[in-house]
Symmetry: C2
Subunit: 203 residues, 2 copies
Amino acid sequence: MASSQKPSTRERILDIALELFSEQGYDKTSLRDIAERLGTTKAALYYHFERKEDILLALHLRLHEIGRDVLVRLDELESAQAYVEAWPQLMDELIDRVAQNRELVLLHLRNARALESIGADERHQAENQDMLERFGRLFANPEIPLADRVRMTCSIGAALAGLIDTEDRFGDVDGAVLVELVRGSVRDMLTPLGAPSEPIPSG
Amino acid sequence: MASSQKPSTRERILDIALELFSEQGYDKTSLRDIAERLGTTKAALYYHFERKEDILLALHLRLHEIGRDVLVRLDELESAQAYVEAWPQLMDELIDRVAQNRELVLLHLRNARALESIGADERHQAENQDMLERFGRLFANPEIPLADRVRMTCSIGAALAGLIDTEDRFGDVDGAVLVELVRGSVRDMLTPLGAPSEPIPSG
DNA sequence: GTCTATATTTCGATAGAC
DNA sequence: GTCTATCGAAATATAGAC
C-alpha cells in the first residue's frame, strides 16, 4: 500500500543519487550534479533533504530494508552452533538479494568511509544497529570456532566479488547463471563448516 | 642498496598519507591533515609532490611494485588452461602479499574511484597497465570456462575479506594463523577448478 | 516546490621571503 | 626545505522571491 505508481521527486532524487554516488563516489558527486541530472537546481534539493548526508542516509536505509529480515532471522539464532549451521542457507539468501540490488551494494562498498562518518551521527542511532556492525559482532564471537568464522567472512567477500561491479567481465552472462555459479563457489567454501580443525581431546 | 636507514621526508609523507587515506579516504583527507600530522605546513608538501594526486599515485606504485613479479608470472602463461592450473598457487602467493601489506591494499579498496580518476591521467600510461585491469582481462577471457572464471574472481574477494580490515574481528589472532585459515578456505573454493561443468560432447 | 542570488567554508595550489 | 600569505575554484548551505 505504501508503494507504486508515482515516482515522487524525492524518489527520483534518490535514484539519481544512487547512480551517481556508486559511479563517481559520494564525495566526488556534488549536489549540482544531481540537480542537473534531475533537471532542476541545487536549491530545490534542499526542499527534500536537509543535508547532502541525508540523501546518502536514505539510500542506506533502502539497503537496510532489503536485508532487514535476514538480520531478524540471524537474531533468532541462539547458540554458536546454530549460527554455523544456518550460515550456508543464509548465504544463499544473501546472494540473491545482493544480485538483485547490485548498484545499492556497490554504493555501500565504494563509500564505506562516508557511510561510517554519518553513521556516527546523532539522529540515527536507532536505525543504525548496522548490518556490517552486526555481522562484525557475529564474526567476533569467540564461541564459534575461528576457522568457521574466517570461512564465513571469506564467503561474504567471495559473493560480493562474484556479483558486484562485474559488468566488464560477466556483463553478457545471464544473471541467474552467474548467481548459480557464485552460489556453487561459496558452497564449496562452506561445506567444511563445523569440521574440527584442531584435534579434539578425546575421552 | 636503494633502501634502509633514513626515512626521507618524502617517505614520511607517504607513510602518513597511507594511514590517513586508508582511514578517512582520499577525498576527505586534506593536505592540511597530512601536514599537521607531519608537523609542518601545507606548502611544504608541495616541495615534495606537485599535486595531491601525486601522493596517491606514489602509494599506488608501492603496491604495483609489490605485485609486479606476480603479474610477470601471469604474463608468461600462454594458454587458458595454464591460467587455470596456475591460479591456486598464484592465490597462495597473493594471500601472503596482501597479508603483509594490508593497509596498502585497504587504501586501494577504499579509494578505487579516486585511483581510477588519476589512472586516466597523462603521465602514467606506461606504469598503468594496472593490476586490476590485468586481472579483469584475465577474467573476461572467454577461452577459460565461465565457471572457472567466476571461481577465480570469488577467490580474490574471499582472500581480501578474510585479511583486510579485520582488526575488530580477528585482531587478536596471530597473523600467520589467519593467513593459513584464509588459504585453506580459498583452496576449498578452488579445488573444483577445471572440472567440466557443462557436459562435454564426447567422441 | 522551485527559482535566483549569495553567504560561508574548505581546499588545492602558487608566490615569494627566509 | 620550509615558512607566511593569499588566490581562485568549488562545494555546501541559506535567504527570500515567485
